[in-house]
Amino acid sequence: MTNAMDDIAENAEAFFIIGSNTTSQHPVFGTKLRRAIQQRGTPLIVADPRRIDISDIATIHLQHKGGTDTALINGLSYLILQNGHEDKEFIAKRTEDFEEYRAVIQDYPPEKVSEITGVPVEMLKEAAEIMGTHKPMAVMWAMGITQHIKGVRNVMALAGLQMLLGNMGVQGGGTNPLRGQNNVQGACDLGGLPNNFPGYQKVFNPDVQKKFADAWGRGTAPKVGKTVTELVPEVLEGNTHAIYVLGEDPIMSDPDTKHIRANFEACDFVVLQELFESETAPYADVLLPGSSFAEKTGTFTNTERRVQMVRQAIAPIGDSRPDWHIISDLAKRIIALTPELLSLNAPYSGWDYDSTSAIMDEIAALTPQYSGISHERLENGERLQWPVKGYDHPGTPILHVGEFAHGKGKFKPIEHVPPTESPDDEYPYIMSTGRVLYHWHGGQMTRRVEGIMKVYGESLVEVNPDDAANIGLNGGENRIRLTSRHGTIESKALITERVPPGMVYANFHFPEASANELTHASLDPVAKIPEYKVTAVKVEKV
């Protein structure tokens, strides 16, 4: 997020939520927005194919067809330009490539956009009018925008919209992707990506390579590694021989489950470090019992780049150990087998950490954004949002104030591309996937909470009442079978107007009916994100 959550809730003059079921997935932030809408009267525009909780209080709900986000955003930009509501000064001073952008946008008049997206022209006009006259507007999105074959392009289109309106680098504005998992931000920040060392330092940059080789006593080849969606399928191709999984459940969360299973099955050596015998456990050779958040001390980084303390509340359960213990212990044992591989006198070559605080000090030394972060500062109650450029730097609640991190903001003209899968006679429904308020991700945690299971104890696939009638559901057991080109599941149906006709909505919280049995592995060419939001399926009564 370029802006902080409280800043958005308090200072935005309008909200644009696209592809985020905010009140379910980021409930406490959703609540802040809801409060602003109800108490400050801040107008809200929601773009989502489904009726979601927050769209019920939206000023306008643009119910566009799944996979038509770019066209929708371009159409709004078209109208903003037509109304003369663009921020000419901002565009001139702080951006480049505007003319190329404008040229593409000219291809998206409201009539055409309405045709593509299914949103009435009047609503497009109304939304563009609000955007043009309520500045700053904050844009929020989540997986609804990114889990498409063109997810990255959607994000660029939104960045274009915000630059057009001059809503960047100001209080209450910005582009604000809402990060899903509690520490997905931290995992990205600290090198959990195949192309980046910690702090988004590129692996292919020789200076970076040298920096880490000098610090650690050994570096990697200057070449981008494989993403999870490439890595696993390469087992069967003979390229991947071992997989080490820390606290994830790829069998539940990765697309095209059948294929994933086959790859794990064939892998030479699988290490799983987990709390439970998850859906991935049957494929593991070793299962190392890690610890939950309550059993260890360290930090998480939230969606607004704020680093916060996690503190140990109870002793590790059984013989389980904090994960950082396990990793360091293992590292030391591997190094002991071939100590010659690294230069042991490099300043950060060693693994003898007495606490996570010491690890944070190493992070600070090697990660520009974290260079001012320490447990000590956090324990003193400081609010630190990266970049924190030194131990005396207060952090950066809003990014891009006065100047973009990389100089001028580049307008990227993005054309609409239809989704890979579209409904046909055999698979007439579009399935979208996501989470529900009560569950979390693969459900390993929430399915082990009694109260939550009482509330939401089985998989429910949302079906529109009209479709339910066509399928022949009569309010009895309402069991349905969903079949895609990739697999099949059975589930109970929840008949609700929240989904439009022609669409079903499934979650991946329950292994017996995981939506990912049906999804496909078409990947966004840049971010390698699977297209979870658009799968063609057929739906039958069981």
């Binding site: 400050r40 009267g41 107008p43 019920d56 209080i57 000023t59 609000i130 309520h134």
Partner: protein, 156 residues
Amino acid sequence: MAVSTHDRSALIPLLQEVQVEMGYVPKEAISEISKELRVSTSDIFGVLTFYSQFRLNPTGKHMVKICSGTACHVRGAPLIIDAVEDELGLEDGNETTEDGEFTVEKVACFGACSLAPVVIVDETTKGNITPDQARRMVRKIIKAEAKKKKAEAANE
């Protein structure tokens, strides 16, 4: 500037309209108004149960409104209430008879205090009424209803 299109102040007038139309405020109307005005059903329920004008259940076919204003009270309204409730067999604070024929409502004040005590039966207002007269007003309607039923039965 905030954009507000949902005027909460329309809530009570809307509920009043429904009540005039239906004689009470049914659940379905509440959900509809809730969506229309974006006021939660719980809030609407709170409003409905606050104001004595609103009813959540249908009333009887005939309304007997008995004024309980001060002037009426000192001039014998409690006796009128007792008499009417006794005549209709109403007990335990029930307002509507089991057969759904009558609803008896105690009204704070009609503002016709100089004619206390006052009773309104359907469209007829009666001042300076005695318990015995009140009983007779009610009996007359019961008789008329019985006669009507008999006539209907005969026609069939």
